[in-house]
Structure formats: structure tokens, C-alpha cells
């Protein structure tokens, strides 16, 4: 990838100093860490730690101009809930600005705007020609008044190509029980949560101060979506659902701890307007490959649902918490990755007493805008060791994904605040 000229420039900049770095193009200077930042990757790939921010780095976006913005779960002591990073010589970055005194998860950028969400609202900031925010203290409020009742509070966002923004409003419950997460408590009839949560809402990306009434409940029956992305090939919204917890805890006579660890699958859904994915009435059993009736609504672990609910497009191991979804459109990685999906699995807690799982980034091949073939674990060992992963005590938890302007893949970590960048180096 590197030309002789860029190698020469790289050497000379090291001598001259950092002032001349901006003369270089990004792809000419990226150097993977000797240990690939501790990650296990397929042959030909390398990784570097772009930065150690020490923050709860949730989602990340790279503007078309190459500026990196990271949304933090809670603002720093200085009141910065969004960090702006600038990369130096070899790809290592430093925080050059911070703004937005609110915690949250969602962040997304176009050429002209940076969108970011708190757990109740969505804001946007104007970007200048260099991809810098021009109004850090006076963002426009695009959406307001979204429900936040602690559980599943993240308001993840993505845009389509027709000027719409999609927001997840997670259900503030595990399975809409009369008493949430209590043993034996049955489901509330006609689950009232679904009015204002447990789905994806669609709004206009350029209208201000929109509330529920201005938007559309685009899809319902989705317990909690943290990772979502627009697929430009099929012109369709794809989302990753966090499946329900505690089948054994709440119905021990129907599910043992092993079944509870493997049920239900974490599901990828290809959404169309009006779809219903079945929460809380159903869950997906990957071994049976069936949509099952939830025990809170009369299920017994064997009863298959007869309702007309959307079937998942693909299923992944239970409770592994998919926190980011990204369709890869770059050209740096080999051909097979183009238009496929990367999924960041934050890692499980509800598989205990069985070993925990996740803490990796998966690649899901796609063909013609549909998932095609089995997924593979693409970047592993965020946990540090298999023992730390099994114990649910990982060093890092992958949470956000973004594609760099050169086609490299950025991954955030909301445990230690590391920002990773994965590059393909093979000739």
C-alpha cells in the first residue's frame, strides 16, 4: 500500500517534527502496534491503539473529512460528553476538543452535521469544511422527550439516505412482567411499554424539536437495540437486538441454567416499516430455529409462536450484547468484507453460572444486501485472556464501530476507554 514516496515522507517527518504531519495522507503513515494492541485478528490484519482515553467510550464516528468524534456514557469532569480526536504521525491520536455536557451513546456524522444523543434527546452540530464543529455549545435539538427509565436507556442513532433519522427507544423492562425480573411474575397483557419504547422511531433528520408525535414508530417488538445501521445496498435498516434475560431465574421449572445461558439468541433483524419483532410475547430459540412463546405469556419452553412476527435475519450466541453494527463499504479490507457487517459484542453477564462470552467483533458476510453464510469472530481478545472473558471480568469491552476514510475499522471500548483501529496490511 505504501509508495516509496510516502515511506520517504514518513522518515523525513520523523526528523522534521510533527508540524509537517498534516502534509501526509492518513493511509500513508499508519503503523500497527507490535502486539496488535492485544487483539487476535485474521492474517494480514493489524491493529493499533489510537488512544487510551480512560473514558466510557460508547459510539464513534469518523466524518468524511476524517475527524473522529466519540460519545461518552457520562461527561468528563470538565463537562465533555463528546471527544474530538486528531491523529498524529503513525495513527496515534490525542483529544483536541471536548464538548456536549451530557452522557449518552449515539453519534453519527454526515458531511455537514454531527448528530449525538443523550438518553432522552438527539442533538446536531454544524460541521465546517474541515469537519470541525462550529457550534459546540449551541447544538440544535432534533428530537426531545424520549423515554428513559434507566433500563436500556441508550438512544442509538443512524440515518438513511432520504433525510430520516432512526432512534432506538429500549424497553424499560426485561419481559414486560407485572413485577419486572421477579420470579414467576407474568406478562402484562397488551404490553403498555410498546406505546413509547421497545422499538425504533423514525424522525426527520433536519427538523428541530420533534417529539414522539412528530415521528413514526418504525418497528416495534424490539426489546433493546444498541447497534443499528442503514444498508445502502438493500436500502434497509438493520438492527441488533439484545435478547431477554433470566429465563431460568424467573421460570426455573421450565429452563435450567444451561438452557438459560443459551436462550434466546441475539438477533439481527432486517426491518421494514411496520415490522413487529415479537418482544415481549416471543423469543428466538436458535437450536430449534423457531420463534417461541415467552413463559410470561403462556410459553413453556416448547410452545412455538403462531403470531406473525418478523423472523431474525441471523442469530448469534445468547446474552453477548451486540452494541454496534456497521456495514463495511471501504476498499482497504479484502473483497469479501465489502458490504458485509461488523458487529461489536460488548460481552455477556446473564450467562452465569455458565462461562461468560462475547467481548469480540464479529464479521457477518452479506450478499446482495442479505446476510449470507456463517459469521466469524473477526477481532478477539478484548478481554485480555480467555479466563477474564469466562469470568466476565474483561479488560476491555467493545462498544462502538466506525469506518475510517481510508477503510480502516475503529473500535471503541467503554470499559477502559481505549480506541482501536484495525488495518489491513497485506500486499
Amino acid at each position: 500500500m505504501k509508495s516509496a514516496t510516502s515511506r520517504y515522507l514518513l522518515l523525513s517527518t520523523a526528523v522534521i517534527g510533527s508540524l509537517s504531519l498534516f502534509a501526509l495522507k492518513n493511509e500513508d503513515k499508519i503503523v500497527a502496534d507490535a502486539d496488535n494492541a492485544g487483539l487476535k485478528l485474521p492474517a494480514g490484519f493489524g491493529a493499533l491503539k489510537v488512544a487510551d482515553t480512560g473514558t466510557r467510550a460508547r459510539h464513534i464516528t469518523v466524518t468524511p473529512q476524517g475527524t473522529i468524534f466519540v460519545k461518552l456514557n457520562r461527561p468528563t469532569k470538565e463537562g465533555q460528553g463528546i471527544l474530538q480526536l486528531r491523529e498524529g504521525g503513525t495513527g496515534k491520536a490525542s483529544v483536541v476538543a471536548g464538548f456536549g455536557n451530557y452522557g449518552g451513546t449515539g453519534i453519527y456524522s454526515t458531511k455537514d452535521y454531527l448528530y449525538a444523543s443523550s438518553d432522552e434527546e438527539v442533538f446536531r452540530y454544524k460541521l465546517n469544511a474541515k469537519g470541525e464543529v462550529t457550534n459546540p455549545t449551541q447544538p440544535e435539538k432534533v428530537i426531545t422527550g424520549l423515554l428513559n427509565r434507566q433500563q436500556h436507556e441508550s438512544k442509538s442513532i443512524t440515518l438513511d439516505q432520504a433525510g430520516n433519522i432512526y432512534v432506538n427507544v429500549g424497553a424499560y423492562a426485561n419481559s414486560c412482567q407485572v413485577k419486572d425480573r421477579q420470579k414467576g411474575s407474568m406478562g402484562r397483557p397488551n404490553c403498555p411499554i410498546l406505546d413509547s419504547a421497545g422499538g425504533i422511531w423514525q424522525f426527520r433528520a433536519d427538523k428541530l424539536n420533534q417529539t414522539y408525535g412528530d415521528g413514526t414508530r418504525y418497528a416495534t417488538g424490539l426489546r433493546n437495540v444498541v447497534g443499528l445501521d442503514w444498508n445502502a445496498q438493500s436500502n434497509q435498516l438493520f438492527v441488533m437486538q439484545h435478547g431477554r434475560d433470566q429465563l431460568h431465574d424467573n421460570f426455573p421449572e421450565l429452563y435450567d441454567t444451561k438452557e438459560s445461558a443459551e436462550l434466546p439468541a441475539e438477533c439481527l433483524y432486517a426491518l421494514n416499516k411496520g415490522d413487529n419483532a415479537g418482544w415481549p410475547y416471543t423469543y428466538f430459540d436458535p437450536a430449534k430455529n423457531k420463534i417461541m412463546v415467552s413463559p410470561e405469556y403462556g410459553g413453556d419452553g416448547k410452545k412455538v409462536s403462531t403470531g406473525s412476527y418478523l423472523a431474525p435475519a441471523m442469530a448469534y450466541p445468547a446474552h453477548t450484547a451486540p452494541n454496534a453494527l456497521l456495514f463495511y463499504t471501504g476498499t482497504m479490507f479484502p473483497e469479501k468484507y465489502r458490504n458485509g457487517a461488523f458487529i461489536a459484542f460488548h460481552g455477556s453477564w446473564n450467562r452465569a453460572p455458565e462461562p461468560q462470552k462475547g467481548y469480540y467483533v464479529v464479521f457477518q458476510p452479506f450478499k446482495n444486501g442479505k446476510p449470507s453464510g456463517p459469521y466469524e469472530v473477526f477481532a478477539d481478545n478484548f478481554a485480555g485472556t480467555p479466563e477474564k472473558a469466562n469470568a466476565g471480568r474483561p479488560d476491555h469491552k467493545p462498544c462502538g464501530l466506525a469506518q475510517g476514510t481510508d477503510g480502516s475499522l475503529y473500535v471503541t471500548d467503554d470499559k477502559a476507554g481505549s480506541i482501536y483501529r484495525i488495518v489491513y496490511a497485506k500486499k
Binding site: 434507566q150 433500563q151 425480573r181 431460568h248 453477564w349 446473564n350 469470568a391 466476565g392 470499559k415
Partner: protein, 147 residues
């Protein structure tokens, strides 16, 4: 330094979910009475059945989702508010400077003895060291807890 030892179990009718006075340090002093082994063993079984899936095998909880039970103000503090956490459940309360997104369900269907055992186990596991909780103490809190 501080004479806090005298502030041991006092049946203060603390309001539900009122943050307990921080007595972590005093409570960490060796408890005068020995911890009954039977209570610890039964408590462990109850913990595995009812608490482990959220608070985890090591009691460390889950980052920002399920609170840890390791030397927290609640676990090592006054027993009345601790018993009430189990009787009433808990949600949205900041614990030692951190917020947790999940819900702690109520365990009011466990008996006084079971609640005493599981709390005795928690107060003497995961690096914790604090006096045992007695069934009579749970009973008193439960009676006062009723409206």
C-alpha cells in the same frame, strides 16, 4: 480515630431506600460474635439460586448494570436498610457514586431465616467482613416495612 463501633445495629426505622450511614470502616472491624457456619452454607446456596446471575460469582456485579456487593456502603452498613433492599427491591439509587441500569427485584417471598442467611453470607464473602444478620432482625424490619 472515630468512635463508630458503638453505632452498630440500632433499629432505626430508616425510610425505605434511604442511603445508610457509611460505617464501612467500623463494620469491617472483626465482629464480636462468630458467624454461624450453617447460616453461611445455607446463605451460599441461596445466593447461587437467587443473586448470582446478576451480582456474579465473585460478587463484583456488572459494570453500570448490576451493583457490586463488595464492601459497599449498603452491604457493610446498617442492617435495616440492607434488609429493605431485599424486601422491596431497588432501582435507580446511586451506590457509592455509581448508577446501575438494571432493576433489583424484591425477594419478599423468602423467609426471615433465608433472608438472614443470604445477607450473612454476603456480608462475609467477596472480601466483606461484618456481623451476621439474625432472623429476628429481619422479622422486625419486615414488620415495620408493612404499610
Amino acid at each position: 480515630m472515630f468512635v463508630l463501633g458503638a453505632l452498630a445495629w440500632a433499629a432505626t426505622p430508616a425510610a425505605a431506600q434511604k442511603k445508610p450511614v457509611s460505617k464501612a470502616r467500623s463494620a469491617a472491624k472483626p465482629a464480636a460474635a462468630a458467624i454461624p457456619a450453617a447460616s453461611l452454607a445455607l446463605g451460599k446456596t441461596l445466593y447461587v439460586q437467587n443473586c448470582l446471575s446478576c451480582h456474579q460469582a465473585d460478587g463484583g456485579g456488572v459494570d453500570r448494570i448490576n451493583a457490586p456487593l463488595t464492601k459497599t456502603t449498603w452491604v457493610l452498613g446498617d442492617k435495616a436498610p440492607l434488609v429493605k433492599v431485599l424486601l422491596n427491591g431497588m432501582q435507580g439509587v446511586e451506590i457509592d457514586g455509581e448508577r446501575y441500569a438494571n432493576v433489583m427485584p424484591a425477594f419478599d417471598y423468602l423467609t426471615d431465616q433465608q433472608l438472614a442467611d443470604v445477607l450473612t453470607y454476603v456480608r462475609n464473602s467477596f472480601g466483606n467482613k461484618a456481623s451476621a444478620v439474625k432472623a429476628t432482625e429481619v422479622k422486625a424490619v419486615r414488620a415495620a416495612n408493612k404499610k
